[in-house]
């Protein structure tokens, strides 16, 4: 058996998922389904955000109910410059990373002094502040949101103008994010983050200033999420403060949990399932929230470990490490 082929059933399924995502635009184009390409594009963007949330929530044990704020910040970093006819993508990217990272540094420095449920609440509070800040910005549409009439421009590098182009650049960012997280959690930094999740007291006694590492992790996660926001702004062409409300942050958490907390591919598959389920169910009935709600309850009561957990069950029979 070739070494680079996935050795486990879950590994094979994830490889298949990535492969289908890579081929999806061609298949959908052949099927004349541009709307489903849109849906997949949206799902990929959210997957990047969910991957970023999983870094702090899954690996670091920091449950943030305010991560959607960074999607909003990233999106407004496209929207506001575009409002003044600045379309340079590098500027948008730099702003998203800078503003997202800066906001995370300040709010994280305060939030990380708290633990557990208090951390959940304080991150929610900061995201609500960001939400109302944008609501108060009359010039940029306030509650009504802002239409982005043209996408970010990366002269001579990248064109986001076609649906295909946008999809593949987003897919590339997603792969990069996965690879980055994979390296990160297995590097020195990642071990400290994972160790702090399970036993922070011990980590401090071992000489780690865990606060600093956690803050750095929080900022990195926020920056990645801001990039997702920037992509969402480009894709949707319309942004509003609504995308940073606490309910949206809650949805991001669900996507992590559906897929599997603290796993590499869990967030990706969780997001795919969430977005597609939402689409399919809402096409069936306006009362789809009922089905969705029952699924959430059942997931917690009976479905431990999320989809990754179920897939890992397959591996037990097949041997090898998950």
């Amino acid at each position: 058996m070739k070494a680079w082929l996935p050795q486990t059933w879950s590994g094979r399924i994830y490889a298949l998922l990535l492969l289908s995502l890579a081929l999806a635009p061609f298949v959908l184009d052949w099927m004349k389904q541009p709307f489903y390409l849109d849906l997949l594009t949206r799902a990929l963007i959210f997957a990047i955000a969910v991957i970023s949330l999983n870094l702090i929530l899954g690996y670091g044990g920091m449950v943030s109910l305010g991560h959607a704020a960074y999607i909003g910040i990233g999106a407004y970093c496209v929207g506001i410059p575009s409002y003044y006819d600045y379309y340079n993508g590098w500027l948008h990217l730099a702003l998203a990373l800078g503003v997202g990272g800066g906001f995370a540094l300040i709010t994280g420095a305060i939030s990380l002094r708290t633990k557990g449920v208090y951390f959940i609440m304080i991150t929610m509070a900061f995201s609500q502040m960001a939400f109302f800040l944008f609501v108060s910005m009359e010039e940029y549409g306030a509650d009504d949101g802002l239409v982005i009439y043209s996408r970010s421009e990366f002269p001579q590098w990248i064109s986001l103008d076609s649906a295909f182009g946008l999809y593949y650049w987003i897919f590339a960012v997603l792969l990069l994010a996965l690879f980055f997280i994979h390296r990160l959690v297995h590097a020195h930094f990642g071990r400290v983050i994972v160790g702090s999740k399970f036993n922070e007291e011990r980590m401090m006694a071992l000489g780690f200033n865990t606060y600093r590492y956690r803050l750095a992790c929080y900022v990195l996660s926020a920056m990645l999420c801001s990039v997702a926001g920037m992509l969402l702004g480009n894709f949707a062409g319309f942004i509003s403060p609504d995308m940073m409300s606490w309910a949206r942050s809650g949805e991001l958490i669900f996507m992590v949990i559906i897929g599997g907390v603290g796993t590499l591919f869990g967030p990706l598959i969780g997001t795919m399932v969430f977005v597609l389920l939402e689409e399919i169910l809402s096409a069936i009935t306006v009362y789809w929230h009922l089905i969705f709600g029952i699924m959430l309850v059942a997931l917690v009561l009976y479905g431990k470990g999320g989809i990754h957990g179920w897939l890992s069950l397959l591996d037990r029979g097949g041997g090898g490490r998950g």
Partner: protein, 250 residues
């Protein structure tokens, strides 16, 4: 007489009306094993917590290797060479023994803002960790998950992690807690092997262990240190007999 590595002067800490440590003075000699004994609630764990930085004393001074560390954080003290083990087993349960000890090596080996290279490939760190595991006799179990080995092995892992920090001094909070006879004997052997190499402050209930290991002995009662002397002298000390040994160890 050797220079003391750790000196504690007039340490005072109270919680509301309860005095946990009351004017505690202590000097731990370089290379020696200094045991602290006393009945439950005497303030031993509070003392360890203050030495390791978990608790701030209300007043008093802690000097380590010639300078005051009373304002240092837990992590800073650890990096200065003051390693501790916990009374209740405190390791990272979902990780393997090797990974746990590697974290200990990592903690005192410079910063960990290294985002890219896998820890697995860090040869030096791995070898150092394996060496520490070997010191406590766990090298054959390096790849086992910490949460799945026996209690005695977890206690040994605690010590291995403390050792892996290459500390100048070990603060061991009841390393024999909850152990069976054989496991205790094994731990005594391990700690005995460190004599002369590491300075150890040992808080322990198991008197056999204390008497066989300690060079110096301090007795704490109600937050006070009522006596500090050699093991033999303490055995003959009437006050100690009455206050402590006479009651609980008869």
């Amino acid at each position: 007489m050797a220079e003391p590595l750790l000196t504690v002067n007039s340490l005072y800490k109270h919680f509301g009306g309860i005095v946990a440590t009351d004017n505690v003075n202590l000097a731990v000699e370089q290379g020696g094993i200094h045991a602290v004994i006393g009945p439950n609630g005497a303030g031993k764990t509070t003392l360890i917590a203050q030495l390791s930085g978990q608790l701030r004393p209300d007043s008093g001074e802690i000097e380590f290797a010639g300078h005051s560390i009373v304002d240092y954080s837990v992590a800073r003290r650890a990096r200065e060479g003051l390693a501790r083990s916990f009374q209740i087993t405190s390791v990272v349960m979902p990780l393997t023994l090797l990974e746990n000890v590697m974290l200990a090596v990592q903690g005192t080996g410079g910063h960990s803002f290294r985002f890219w290279a896998p820890v697995k490939n860090d040869r030096a760190m791995r070898d150092a960790a394996l060496a520490s595991l070997a010191e406590v006799g766990l090298d054959d179990r390096a790849e086992r998950i910490a949460g799945q080995v026996s209690h005695g092995e977890q206690r040994q892992l605690e010590v291995a992690m403390a050792l892996a920090m290459k500390p100048r001094m070990l603060l061991l909070d009841e390393p024999m807690a909850g152990m069976g006879k054989e496991e205790t004997a094994r731990m005594i052997e391990i700690l005995g092997g460190l004599r002369g190499d590491k300075t150890i402050l040992l808080v322990e209930h198991d008197m056999d262990a204390v008497f066989s290991l300690a060079d110096q002995l301090s007795v704490m009662v109600d937050g006070h240190v009522i006596a500090t002397d050699t093991v033999a002298a303490i055995r003959d000390n009437d006050a100690v007999q009455k206050a402590y040994l006479g009651d609980s160890h008869a």
